[in-house]
């Protein structure tokens, strides 16, 4: 109790840390002065500065959710086989920078010895950008790390080689908020039933006007249920998006049966060649089948194989489909095209084929 009465420590609101204190000295020295790069082999980048300095980067996959033992192991590798400086990519790969080419092969060997796959560069399938899932999120429909583990086990060989037409970026998300983001392939939860409301709790837990305002299709309205103030849903209007669930947990959107998985393709954030795009729905209604999600993995495999076989070098997933047409995409992947693929949201007409262009 004495501690409680002590004056609390004032925080130092230091903000975003200065990275130069952690950066590899060759990178500090050549900051903003790089000339070109090439890739001597998969998983290795070689950058050459205008000063003549060179740096080699070895990229390896991690499980993202790391225990301190794994992090310390990665640090040991960094101290013994690299220069003690690392960084993480946006897809949670670790990168070791070394100033001498002779350090590259022993480093790769050591990473391999401990099961860290070296790759994820160029025209490969890199690590999946993903979310928290059942491990830590308060609203998840599925797990994240588990789905990713299953998919990356299947795609391991595509991580450690550069044999795709262009880079293939996969994301997963555990609810329709889609924290995993856009991807060439996105594996996302798609709810299929309106929320089930626990009317005993709504009045105490939920700020009802805020919940009503949160619904994108105005399907929620205040109601008295069994004499208690609660909310009700127009189930014909409800699009089962789950937006009401975070502000009002008694509106349970998840269930073991109705929480399904959907797969989307053709998202791209790069401006290279075509403008950035959003991913588009190709399959919904896949079961949320832990721990291996085999139905999801099977569909992803089909899409990856069709893309790998048919796309031209440098075409991203969406650009490949743009060229071959959606008709051939659905044929090549042996997937069904249904009325649910036709957009109904704001701007839907602009997603329709407003031309006489037809693929046969």
């Amino acid at each position: 109790m004495n501690e409680m009465s002590e004056k609390p420590r004032m925080p130092d609101e230091c903000g975003v840390p200065d990275p130069f204190q952690y950066m590899h000295p060759v990178m500090v020295k050549n900051y903003g002065n790089w000339d070109y790069h090439d890739r001597p082999r998969v998983g290795v980048l070689h950058h050459v500065s205008k000063s003549g300095d060179e740096i080699w980067t070895v990229r390896a996959g991690t499980q993202r959710q790391m225990d301190v033992y794994t992090i310390r192991l990665l640090c040991d590798i960094g101290d013994n086989f690299a220069d003690g400086h690392v960084r993480f990519t946006t897809r949670s790969n670790i990168e070791y920078m070394v100033d001498d080419e002779s350090k590259v092969e022993p480093l790769i060997e050591e990473l391999g010895k401990h099961g860290f796959p070296v790759g994820g560069t160029g025209a490969s399938v890199s690590m999946i950008s993903h979310t928290q899932g059942w491990l830590h999120c308060d609203i998840p429909g599925t797990d994240a790390s588990g789905v990713v583990k299953g998919l990356m086990d299947m795609l391991h060989s595509e991580f450690v080689q550069e044999k795709m037409p262009n880079r293939l970026r996969i994301t997963t998300s555990c609810c329709q908020i889609n924290c995993g983001g856009q991807g060439d392939i996105a594996v996302n939860v798609q709810y299929t039933q309106p929320p089930k409301i626990n009317h005993d709790l709504v009045a105490n837990v939920c700020e009802r006007p805020a919940v009503v305002a949160r619904c994108p299709v105005a399907a929620i309205r205040p109601a008295m249920v069994d004499g208690k103030p609660s909310l009700e849903i127009d189930e014909k209007k409800c699009v089962c998006c789950g937006a009401c669930y975070p502000p009002c947990p008694p509106m349970q959107i998840n269930s073991d049966e109705s929480t399904k998985i959907a797969i989307w393709v053709g998202g791209k954030h790069s401006n290279a060649r075509s403008k950035p795009t959003f991913h588009k729905l190709v399959v919904a209604g896949l079961p949320n089948n832990a721990p291996h999600w085999p139905e999801v993995t099977a569909v992803v495999k089909k899409i990856v194989e069709a893309y790998k076989k048919d796309a031209k070098h440098w075409e991203r997933m969406g650009e490949w489909i743009e060229r071959i047409g959606w008709k051939r995409f659905f044929e090549m992947t042996d997937l069904a095209f249904t009325k649910h693929h036709i957009d109904t949201w704001t701007g839907a007409r602009k997603t329709m084929n407003q031309s006489a262009h037809v693929h046969f």
């Binding site: 975003v16 840390p17 990178m27 225990d67 830590h136 994108p216 401006n271």
Partner: protein, 426 residues
Amino acid sequence: MKDEVTKNGVNPTPMLDQLEDGPWPSFVTGLKRLRDSEGKEYAPIMNDLLGQLNHSYENRKGFWKGGTLSVFGYGGGIIPRFSEVAEQFPASKEFHTLRVMPPAGNHYTTDILRKMCDVWERHGSGLIAFHGQSGDIMFQGCTSDKAQVAFDELNEMGFDLGGAGPALRTAMSCVGHARCEQSCFDGVKAHRGIINRLLDEMHRPAMPYKFKFKFSGCGNDCVNAIHRADFAVIGTWRDDIKINQEKVKEHIAEKGRKYTIDTVVSMCPTRAISLHDDDTMEIDNASCVRCMHCINVMTKALSPGDDRGASVMIGGKRSLKVGDLMGTMIKPFIKLETDEDFEALEDFAEECMEFFADNALEHERIGECIDRIGVPAFLEAMNIEADPNMVNHPRTSSYVRTDDFQEESAKYFERKAAEAGLVVDQ
């Protein structure tokens, strides 16, 4: 038997056990290492965490709920998690996350990573994610009474909490100038300049909803700024692409003429590239849109020009509530060279945040707010003139009042003349 505790007190995890096979590094194996750490305070916590996670796998449902938790001086940055199945798994009944901002560009020494591990072994569960989707280091799994001391130690090391809730969020920047010749502006300077100036909005959430910044050094947009940031800064340049004709010839000699035509010339989105008969290359720079494709393919022969800076796109976000919005071009080019240039960018960022705070409805992102009021109203509020680079094409709808069209046109010509150093005759 499902979820039954075995005799030695270890929760069985038959579902998770299946995720230890296969070639990809297993997060389950890591969690078990923490569970099996003898004498560590977090071992029983991780035992019950694994039990709860397996319970989720069995029941296909999550069992965490939110709450309120903060450290002294802050209104956000910690994600509280309380278990809904704490009776079954009591040791992990509190499993909170500290969101901590990484150094811009995600650079670390092994030394600082080890120190972070030590802090999280002493006060947390030993589970850390590099990084969350907003860009934070996620120190996952501490009890309510340990949050303050864990923060204090991380703070002493020079690290600060990131954003959560209706606030400025943690930003991300690509590797940029540190290791990439394609980087068109100093991402570290822009990232730290903006976030550290607006830090108050991160630590004491008082915005209508979240606001995110992301910084990519070029149009390849490695941190996915255009989709995921309310304010995306993406590097570009105004002058000509730099061509090293000798390297062009070397590339063609190595890769082949047809390959170069198929993958570079034919894939240029604005048909701006010609290959001469002597294997030299010509680029129509006025038609080039700085997409980066040819530079990506011919990394030694082609590079961005010298007159570098960035574009700013505003309003990117994912589905909630009106549907996906892509960031759209608001500032086609801002020079980013001098301290004054960076200050001007920071000023603009602050103005956008102020506009957002003043005009957005609760739980509305800036992109949705702009959609509601119309881009012209936003431009007027920001004192930005309309620019053809902002649109795919001019409007197709005639439902617009144009009684001041001639005056607006005159202003346009005056601006163009002023840019060219001339004065228009009245």
